[in-house]
């Protein structure tokens, strides 16, 4: 269509109800096409009730059912469906960013020891439990109320919730919709990082593009920040698996034909759809609590390391976003306000200025959109725009997007020491698993600068800050 938009016309394959629309640049589109994502964009276009287009962000890569980077909105009042494949296994995987009162110059001489200290304190890796244990009654409150419950326990404060998408609590969550197996799988995992691409990073502000927005967020050049990337852990994985199974008969019951059984779905208004949404919201609330409890541990650990009593209070949350979620939102489509089920799978909400869901201090700016890059390059803070509201149901990208499989990445790292390579670039990296750093090496990901450039060129977001990693902890 133009330098940054690629259309898959309706009719390119049977069953498409709308066009496919991929946001990508000439630099990125080669990997997109070879990665199999466009076929999945076309498959998603077959979902009943889909409006606008089946979209994908520039970090698109192959996923289960939906591509990663996929955005699809279905009309709740016109037979629109909800699909667990449109959310993914890691429900409410997302990113939290906190600012500190420290400067990069203060931290750099200590970064190796600080990273080791955090690595010892933050539960990370497979099969690792956290220090927080919750009774089944408390677990139900976490699932139903999210961060609100942690406030009542003294593990969060109102400012944490205010600086979190949906205040860290999705209404309509039902603990009873989450199977006992799922609850058991997540019982000792709230406050743990997990493995794979999840991380805690100590970063610093390398570039400020929007001084006014940065000032409102309390950010300046050289300031040290902390970014946390994690999700709903085993609980969310189990919820997704449970509902992929229980919804198996729904397409037959409601006369829905699907090109991929991983896209299994049910009308939002059906009992099956409502049940899934109630469970997904509960898992999302669990994920927000997980990131909150990780933040509690980071604050405590950094406070102990620097030995300053007030450091804890000065590690302040900037924002927290979900990038694997389905939400009921109202958007204007062809001049009419419509209630939509917006699936964002590997895509970040990017509400523009003035949206009433944003906290008062951020409302004039638009929503912070947190984009983690690979551990050797950079991450970004962007702002959502009115263009995103108009074109993508208020959505933008979520990260760099993989270009290598894990095994490919391990092979690519053979004979190399990724930790040594990163250290040469001034980055201390520690991973629990023996292949963690190899799997997550910078070469395994797309160029984050190119992805962000594409999103901003299209107008879906605007740049505020660029952040450079100093210390990285992986599972």
């Amino acid at each position: 269509m133009d330098a940054n938009r690629w259309r898959i016309p309706k009719g390119s394959q049977p069953g498409m109800r709308v066009d496919g629309l991929i946001f990508s640049s000439a630099e990125l589109i080669g990997d997109v096409i070879s990665g199999g994502g466009p076929k999945q964009v076309a498959n998603v276009a077959a979902l009943p009730g889909i409006v606008g287009a089946s979209m994908a962000m520039p970090d698109i890569h192959w996923g289960y059912g939906f591509p990663i980077g996929g955005v699809a909105a279905t009309d709740v009042d016109d037979g629109g469906v909800v699909s667990p494949g449109g959310v993914g296994y890691d429900i409410n995987c997302g990113v939290r960013m906190m600012r500190s009162n420290l400067d990069a110059g203060d931290v750099r001489p200590h970064i190796s020891k600080l990273t080791e200290h955090l690595f010892a304190d933050i539960p990370a890796g497979v099969g690792v439990s956290g220090p927080f244990t919750f009774s089944s009654k408390e677990m139900r409150k976490i699932l139903a109320c999210g961060v609100e419950h942690l406030i009542s326990c003294g593990l969060a404060d109102a400012s944490d919730a205010e600086a979190t998408e949906s205040s860290g609590c999705l209404g309509g969550a039902d603990a009873d919709a989450v199977s006992p197996q799922a609850q058991k799988r997540g019982a000792d995992q709230c406050g743990t990082l997990g493995a794979g691409n999840h991380f805690v990073e100590i970063q610093y502000v390398d570039e400020v593009y929007d001084a006014r927005a940065a000032a409102v967020m309390g950010m300046k050049l050289g300031q040290v920040t902390v970014m946390i990337h994690s999700g709903s852990r085993g609980l969310g994985h189990q919820v997704c698996g449970d509902y992929l199974k229980s919804l198996r008969s729904a397409p037959g019951k409601y006369g829905i034909e699907l090109p991929d059984r991983q896209l299994v779905c049910a009308p939002v208004k059906s009992s099956e759809g409502q049940q899934y949404l109630a469970a997904m919201r509960a898992a999302a609330n669990f994920a927000w609590c997980n990131r909150q409890l990780l933040a509690v541990q980071v604050r405590k650990s950094m406070s102990q390391f620097f030995g300053a009593r007030d450091t804890d209070a000065r590690i302040t949350q900037v924002y927290d976003v979900a990038h694997n979620i389905a939400k009921i939102e109202t958007h204007t489509v062809t001049g009419r306000r419509r209630r939509l089920c917006v699936h964002r799978k590997g895509a970040t909400r990017a509400f523009g200025p003035g949206h009433r869901e944003l906290p008062a201090c951020l409302r004039p700016l638009g929503q912070p959109v947190l984009i983690p890059g690979d551990m050797g390059t950079a991450s970004y803070v962007l702002l959502g725009t009115q263009t995103a509201m108009d074109r993508t149901f208020g959505s933008a990208c979520h990260g760099a997007g993989r270009v290598m499989s894990r095994k490919q990445a391990i092979r690519h790292a053979q004979g190399r020491r990724i930790d040594v390579e990163l250290a040469r670039a001034g980055i201390t990296a520690r991973a629990r698993g023996r292949t963690g750093l190899a799997e997550e090496q910078p070469d395994a990901y797309k160029d984050i600068d190119a992805v962000v450039e594409c999103v901003c060129s299209v107008g879906l977001a605007s740049k505020v800050l660029r952040l450079i990693p100093m210390g990285v902890i992986k599972g």
């Binding site: 497979v126 997990g194 499989s405």
Partner: protein
């Protein structure tokens, strides 16, 4: 046992490709290969036994559900699996005995966490007397 299972690359994840002379053997080699991705069986003593049984609308879905049940034993019930013995299988049901022991991170190496067994490009069928399957695991 003449059945065999090997892994193959898939973007961000890993796939299992298996061949066997019977559906019992197919499910066994798939499950044991999956267990090796999470917690290698060579370090697991067959001290105790667990039973699993699943039902599904067709053999492909059954394969996913069967592997999901084995995964649940490891990742939810913390039972390290040494071997899998299928005791009964039809197109829509399967039961098995898992031999193994309580998972102890000090004794058992845990290599990865599998989020789920997926339906993507799923294949599980009998062709010319040979049973084959391809399953992708979300890591």
């Amino acid at each position: 046992m003449s059945g065999r299972c090997e892994t193959f690359d898939h973007t961000a994840d890993v796939g299992l490709s298996a061949h066997a002379d019977s559906p019992e053997e197919l499910l066994e080699v798939l499950a044991e290969c999956m267990c090796d991705q999470v917690c290698p069986r060579k370090n697991v003593a067959p001290d105790s036994e667990r039973e699993i049984s699943v039902e599904a609308p067709d053999f492909e879905a059954l394969t996913v559900d069967f592997l999901d049940a084995v995964l649940g034993a490891i990742q939810i019930d913390r039972f390290a699996v040494a071997s899998v013995k299928v005791t009964g299988v039809t197109q829509t049901s399967a039961s098995a005995e898992l031999l193994g022991t309580d998972l102890d991170p000090r004794r058992h190496e845990i290599l990865t966490e599998i989020k789920a067994v997926t339906y993507h490009e799923l294949e599980a069928l009998e062709r010319g007397g040979q049973w084959t399957a391809r399953v992708i695991l979300d890591l």
